[in-house]
């Protein structure tokens, strides 16, 4: 995999960070934001729209309820036997099964969606990562070719970056 090149900028304050993110959006830069907390103001500043995790949840919940219906239906007609004088397909009694599978598969698919979207299980830390991002610092890494690094650095400094570092 090619090494990402660009400029990393570090901030102590969330409002400075959010202003810088909005400016990056205006400039059309390709960037990544690091922060120790998932504050919704940052999400609003990035303005990327909702995550696609919701489609995984929808798929999981609909698969779960469908599985519940198919399982109870197939099981009861595969070896038909009357119990408790109830019809083979006793929907009120099976609602619990439908509901639990709805929740179970919904949760499992949500986590799979999260894992795929968040690109989990890639253990190599990017060069732009700084351990202070899990403590108290915020960061913006702007992806750019080597020849643009100095101009991007200048822009980031103007926007209140306390530190900048060339990456790549």
């Amino acid at each position: 995999m090619a090494v990402e090149t660009g400029v990393l900028s570090v901030y102590s304050y969330m409002d400075t960070l959010n202003d810088a993110i909005r400016e990056m959006n205006k400039l059309g830069e390709d960037y990544e934001v690091y922060s120790p907390v998932p504050d919704h103001h940052i999400e609003h500043a990035m303005d990327k729209g909702p995550s696609s995790v919701r489609w995984f949840t929808l798929l999981g919940t609909t698969s779960g309820i469908s599985l519940g219906i198919l399982l109870t239906w197939w099981v009861n007609y595969n070896w038909p036997i009357i119990t408790a004088g109830k019809p083979y397909m006793s929907i009120p009694a099976f609602i619990v099964i439908f509901f639990e599978l709805f929740i179970l598969l919904g949760a499992l698919f949500t986590l799979v969606g999260f894992g795929i979207n968040a690109r989990l299980l890639s253990f190599k830390m990017p060069e732009s990562y700084d351990p202070r991002f899990s403590e108290d610092k915020f960061g913006i890494f702007v992806r750019c070719p080597l020849d643009r690094q100095s101009s991007v650095t200048e822009t980031l400094k103007k926007l209140g970056a306390e530190e900048t570092r060339n990456v790549g």
């Binding site: 103001h41 408790a84 899990s134 108290d136």
Partner: protein, 444 residues
Amino acid sequence: MSQTNTHTYSSLNRDILATLRRPGPLYFVALAFVLCGVALGGYALSEQIKWGMGVDGLSHPVMWGVYIVNFVFWVGIAHSGTLISAVLFVFRVPWRNPIYRTAEAMTVFAVMTAGLFPLIHLGRIWLFYWLMPYPNPRQLWINFRSPLIWDVFAVSTYGTVSALFFFLGLIPDIAVARDNETNPIRKAVYTVLSLGWKNSWTQWRPYNAAYMFMASLAFPLVLSVHSVVSWDFAMSIEPGWHSTIFAPYFVGGAIFSGLAMVITIMLPMRKIFKLEHVVENYHMESAAKMIVFTGSIVVYSYCTEFFIAWYSGVRAEQQMFLYRAFNPEYAFGFWIMFLCNALSPIALAFKKIRSNMYTLWIVTIFVNIGMWFERFNIVASTLSHDYDPAVWGTYSPSWVEGAITIASFCWFFMWFLLFAKQLPAVAIVEVKEIQPKPLAKEAN
């Protein structure tokens, strides 16, 4: 009333990660004690497997005893964890953040404890897989109309979803531990467990969405699980069990007992870890108010049960409730339940008692005892005193059931002790979220 202390992000990292330092001798003494308890339970279980269910006090007509009591009790304990982590999250209640991790861990460990009891109660524990939905050698499947099968689905779904939700919240905190760890072995373990977390918004965006969806799925799940457990009883036509109030009654009681257990655990834990400035009295008092609220639901349910038994005009129902309160065998359980669950939480309505952490802790222990006896009262009395006087009988647990019950508490606390020293027992990221944001306009 609100949180009084504010913290910087750095100080929270430092203070909460300090809980992961090498423990003192007291920790190992406590761990050895609970391991002995677990070993005692293991020995008792081996006796039961060796000699059969005859070593228990279970006999006709009472074939459900303390194993089922313990199952319902531990599932109930699990509930407040999900209430605090999921339901209060959906409602954006800020006092949940410092206590949610402990509460959610409690949920996972309580479900792990609860899940053992139906298996122990089976007798032939090695045939537990007969409960799973697969066709037996005669090609006959499990009966989906049975509340016991509903239980299998509900409790296993609850256990799975709670464990996943617990782990989801832990990922960013494990990354904090990874970034601050110096021991190479622990660092490697945290690196694997953090699943490559980088604190980037490529990850936070789906994390926020997944967390909200998981909380929203856990919200109805928590209400369903104890409802399904209550239907183990309510779906039968036994006097004292066959009641439509059982589902809300059990859910209210579960949250009541679970909140009490959260406080019972959190108060000593925050003292040992010196985290009183993070998990403040305000957070404990807020949970205590919830105990007063859910306690009132429980008392209302007790009163409704008695009223409906009288109002229905059904003799068997009427005598059952009189039997519970005044019979010579189990009435002590009823009155312990009544004193602990109906009267002791009233004390928490008074600020003076609620804000004194010693009296609060004592009341929560009373609630835990009361809720165990509530389940005993429900299970044993009904089976002892069914419709037909010719088959009445009494039940007293044997030493095997007592040992396994004690072992269940030790098993629960064993997991808790192991967890508290290996992973952050207070949610670092979520406590940061309720601190004042670092803003340049305020700093300047």
